[in-house]
Symmetry: C3
């Protein structure tokens, strides 16, 4: 299963080394500690607001009278637990969710690991650059770490669409471009348009899904059925995938609330997401059973659709959506997602030639759009006075009087269109770049197979079978004589 | 392995949809954000004490002079990390602990997921209802989320007793009733009797275990040995189960301390539980080896009994038990639990016809009772002045002078009896309800088998064996000619 | 696979019971709650600085004007999330990292569990004793829990070196001595020499690695190749091991920052480690591919070398290393570690007779030394004024004027030498103690095999093969007649 085109011996080291050396140089030139991580700034100055980073527009930490920088008010203590939950989602959640394939576990976890480690560094630079340099420098801290992980999540969603059909070099190239475009789109939405999208229904999920779907469309393989027998799960691989699912499910409340404003918005977002996911799980089980001819539950649905409630609560989660509204959103997301896996994915593959390995359209695409719409409607429909003085933390532009709620809702809707546009156009271009044969994509009959890029150990039970074979052969020979 | 009685195609969707729609309607009518999650209330009022939720009797967050609601004092930051640890225990811990069966991994994790997602919603309502409406509404926040997860834990303990022998519909029906009775029992103990049970030795573990044991008694299957060959582990299933065990073990300190008062009680509870578990692990290994004829360790003991120290520290953990006392409690819990698995469980099955799949009696039942007794003794025996001014956070009724420590100890003991009574009576009734044939229980020869309710993928190594068979047959045929 | 020498039936229970009873007695005599966990002290006194525990030299929590002990300033809220991350690394991280062997998963996770549960109790006493009794008592809280887990980590590193070749009794004996020597070394470095080593590049990693390497050298087995076929991975065991790897990788920022001073040092340490690990992952993938003749990635490298960046940032992580410096350190650590696995480990085994099962020399040994050197250089080279007023939190002795930065750097370098000396000498002595035949080490042909100390369940697919065998035999017999 080794051929020269997929041999990574020179290509992969060169790409990794060059990328990392560029990153190191750029970090040396451009990056500095922010006010909460620098020994001198933290202890020597009165604190400033520091609104770098992607999603949050500025923390409200200085609402109490200031005396001096207090160690216990370091943003570390109010963001780091959320960061670690997000971190687990990125590396365990996404990584193991994709291990469902029978012989692609090393690649699923391992390539996830590689491209995430690259993307979080690159995203630090791109997001820092697009969201404003301070004296020519990018100031970083826990909030930028969360934002970098978020951007990485978007790349990993796209990875799900092309899973099993790409080389690690292709994935790194994809990550370079996708991170960049993610930062551009995020900048347009959050900074230029004043859109709210704390949990990234648009910026992360919709963007990552449609970008990946377009890439996999361009990389369409008419003869992918040569690897068809590998493109399915086995019992244990489904169990490993459930580790990913459950971690994503549990920590999604932390994901959606990780970079909201402090206080009630963060608390509310986590709780809304919690109930959205619970309702989504109920409708997922119902639909999975309903759409099976014998009523049996399908692991594909449980592993994926039960998470759609988190995606769909990504925009409106910080708003006054209420648990009631959150549950309705999650309930619908689960239904849409299962229907997508059951009926839409086969059509997309047959008619539109979109080979979406993990079904990211059903988990991130449609639920992301649903989340964006819910966000626009919630922004427009909930009266200002429901928020009271808390309005400035959720809709600062509405609170300042520079726009009204329906204008905010309109901006949210426009943001969805922009996101779809950038994702599809970006995916189109990047897809063609990835077609370069030098990038080492696997052959049609070697997709979904770790063996192409990994040393794979023998299976223990082969020993038994070999012994068995030996014994049998001897007996057969004895019979022959 | 499909027959009409276990076909869930219509039944499960109908049950899930109806339940979720009822939940959504009730949430719409009854539930509102609390003072820490509502944008208006949080930012517009001076904070009130908000003692909703089950176990805690009111937070002491307002001990410093009040100026205004500070974003950094939102209870989110002081409870949410504990909540997430508890959440992991519920979904990963319980879910994977039960995957030890060789062909029941999908159901263990998957049904755990389903009934937990339902129970946490239903528990929010039941606990909110029994612990007092505010202006006709249930106000929710991170504390109610922890309490809902706690109640869910109780249902999952009962699930352990009936594991492998029930349909998902039976489990949902069980959850409906058990959550309700849990809330009743919790209300009697914590609100009416002023009992302390922060980690739920009584309310969660004793209740869940004896409820489940009674249900499985009523559902007794005389011909369960038809599925005997499935009622055991294989190598990899034991490894998956260890994931559950280790997560439960690690996060138990967070579990027991999640809804204690803030400050020293939360800190102390976590630490007491940490040492109780460490001592329990030592005695578990000792007993597992001692009770095996060849001295070999038994995975069943390690997976379960090593956790008994957490259960047994559930009531007294917040008290001035000292690390010394905690270690004695854990040490005893490990011994009792292993002895239970080795000698008592077979007797319970043979004589009392209690088929306790996971041995919840040994992990949650007896250690829960031990924990309740330790709690009563500690409450009664430790002099008031050991607590100093901290007494009001642990025993507010003693601190206020309305009862003395021995009265408190007596109440704790009575609470154990009440819990046992409600659990056993409730389990009896619910067990008979679950006997309804329409609920789709598996046949005696199809227990402990995912295939009944799940699409199960083929095993990879079957391919090899089929090839082997083919080759052999050909050779044999060649010989014949 | 049972013989009398490895039969643990009496030995293991006796050792466990005696050890635990001694621990309980010593805890009863020596241990008390600290100011943050005691009900009376916490609520009754003005807070003191309480600098017990190993690595931190005193918290700076009282920098704001004191009024009274505030529940929200309890150190629990500022350390416990870090503690839980460290806890996961100890029990899941180390435990599962070692499950890569095909038939040693029960032992890897199970013995890891046992010796960690013992070590954390014993470490509480040893560290408390060496770092100063208060009125004859050891005062404990969340910081001492973290330190106990750290010390445990060191023992588990040594476990990695001897993995598969030792009985649980040998491991417990090793832990007794190693914990003690760890506390001595830590005391010399942190208390006597004023060395900084927040993440333990020296005290934890270098110490644990060289101690374990010397132990395995003394326990050299010339006929270990009798177990050679077991000393390798299978597909699923590598997947389980990746769970350990990813958890270690994700939570290493919490590990290195868990007991730094509060505020900017903790924040900075976590961030430096995050970038060091990301860079290390990139160079690990590059080197793994580069050093394989066919360019295929090797799971051994990914599982281990990608973590070296965390080890190497253990000392300098809290200093003003900058993300730029951190990335360079991580980049180099990954390269060194892969080269070690590929070229140095075989030499160590052949020439120096060091059978290092997990390659701890490559993951903890060399990267630990690198980290110590980086720490010494960073301490000496970064000018004082870069830290501003924050200097006292990182280098209190330099801030107080009692030493200059180059003196501090010199102390850091001397500390590395002391650590190596104590580790090697200690390992030598303990190695000879472990050679006692009564301790029940496995035979040369039974290494890397769970079956020696564990009840191991049959494999499901054996049933199929037995059926196959039966059928074949019948057919062959039929042919014979």
């Amino acid at each position: 299963m080794t051929d020269s085109s997929t041999n990574m011996r020179l290509k992969l080291p060169i790409v990794c080394f060059i990328l990392e050396i560029i990153l190191i140089i750029l970090f040396g030139v451009l990056v500095e500690y922010d006010h909460d991580t620098d020994a001198k700034l933290f202890n020597g100055k009165t604190p400033n607001s520091h609104g770098h980073g992607g999603h949050a527009t500025g923390t409200s930490r200085n609402s109490t009278p200031q005396t001096a920088h207090n160690d216990y008010e370091n943003d570390f203590y109010y963001r780091y637990p959320s960061f670690q939950d997000v971190h687990v989602m990125i590396f365990i959640g996404f990584g193991f969710l994709m291990t469902f394939l029978q012989r692609y576990g090393f690649s699923s976890v391992g390539f996830n690991f590689l491209i995430a480690a690259f993307s979080l560094q690159w995203a630090t630079l791109m997001q820092g650059f697009f969201h404003g340099l301070h004296d020519g420098k990018i100031a970083i801290g826990v909030e930028s770490m969360i934002n970098a992980d978020f951007c990485t999540g978007s790349v990993l969603i796209s990875f799900g669409a092309v899973l099993g059909k790409t080389s690690p070099i292709q994935l790194l190239i994809m990550a370079i471009f996708e991170v960049t475009l993610f930062a551009v789109n995020e900048f347009i939405l959050l900074s230029l348009l004043g859109t709210r999208d704390a949990g990234g229904s648009m910026t992360i999920h919709t963007f990552g899904a449609y970008f990946g779907l377009m890439v996999t469309r361009v990389l369409y393989r008419p003869n992918l059925d040569k690897s068809k027998h590998k493109n399915s799960s086995v019992y244990h691989s489904d169990m490993f995938a459930m580790i990913g699912t459950i971690y994503l499910w549990m920590f999604w409340p932390s994901f959606n609330s990780a970079i909201t404003e402090h206080g009630d918005p963060q608390h509310r977002t986590a709780m809304n997401t919690y109930y959205s996911l619970a309702a989504c799980t109920m409708s997922t089980y119902a639909m999975s059973s309903l759409t099976a001819h014998d009523g049996k539950l399908d692991m594909v649905h449980i592993q994926n659709a039960a998470l759609a409630g988190g995606v769909a609560a990504g925009t409106a989660g910080e708003m006054m959506l209420t648990p009631f509204g959150s549950m309705i959103v999650g309930f619908l997301a689960g239904i849409i997602s299962v229907l997508g896996f059951k009926y839409l994915s086969p059509i997309l593959e047959e008619k539109l030639k979109i080979q979406d390995t993990c079904g990211v359209h059903n988990l991130h695409g449609m639920p992301g759009i649903l989340g964006a719409i819910v966000g626009a409607v919630t922004a427009a429909a909930v009266p200002k006075d429901v928020y009271g003085d808390g309005l400035k933390k959720v809709f600062p532009d509405v609170a300042s009087g520079s726009r009204d709620t329906s204008y905010q809702g309109g901006m949210q809707a426009i943001s969805l269109a922009i996101t779809l546009g950038i994702a599809l156009l970006g995916g189109l271009i990047v897809g063609f770049i990835l077609k370069l044969p030098v990038l080492g994509a696997p052959r049609d009959n070697a997709c979904f197979e770790d063996n192409v890029y990994w040393e794979v150990p023998g299976e223990e039970h082969h020993h038994h079978q070999e012994e068995l074979t030996t014994v049998r052969t001897e007996e057969v020979e004895k019979l022959n004589t």
